[in-house]
Symmetry: C2
């Protein structure tokens, strides 16, 4: 059985945002994302065919949506992002690891 | 967009274990479970048609499997339980809320 800890074994190379596959099958993907100040390049958007449920477990981040609204996420905060809801990561805390749990379903 | 916080709005009635649907579609279900000392009745087993990825976010718990093995979970610990892997919750901390995030997929 695959086991682990969401707060452990953080990637050493924090220059890049890291995406780690934890579980999934078919179109379902459960992943941990670790950010350290990265954000989505200006003008780029995530526009996904399926919904994404995302929770922030550590750190802090701000999502932006193409209607101009934003959503600040602190530990424990989650959002269920519908398919084709264009969004981007506007900001992540520069001085700590921000740990996300994302479920694409 | 449905948003919330995994550590907030804990159920007031903690006599029963509570299961809250957070997101999902089709066979995918993302839920928060809050336990306060409850466990699976002796002799009962979870035996599920699909896999379940479960993470413990607060508190402490111990899972038992029908090969006699156990797995203690502390905050951040996760396990990807295969379909038809018979398991039960042997113990949850009696003096605090144990918060689980479960993804049935």
């Amino acid at each position: 059985m695959n086991t682990g800890n969401l707060f452990a074994a953080l990637p050493r190379d924090l220059y890049e945002e890291t995406f780690e596959h934890l579980a999934g099958r078919g179109e379902v993907l459960i992943e941990r994302i670790v950010s350290t100040g990265q954000c989505t390049p200006v003008g780029d958007w995530y526009d996904q065919d399926g919904p994404e449920w995302v929770a922030l477990l550590a750190g802090e981040a701000r999502l932006g949506f193409d209607d101009g609204s934003t959503l600040t996420l602190r530990p424990g905060d989650y959002a269920d992002i519908p398919a084709h809801c264009r969004h981007r990561v506007e900001w992540t805390a520069p001085d700590t690891e921000t740990i996300w749990l994302a479920v694409h379903y």
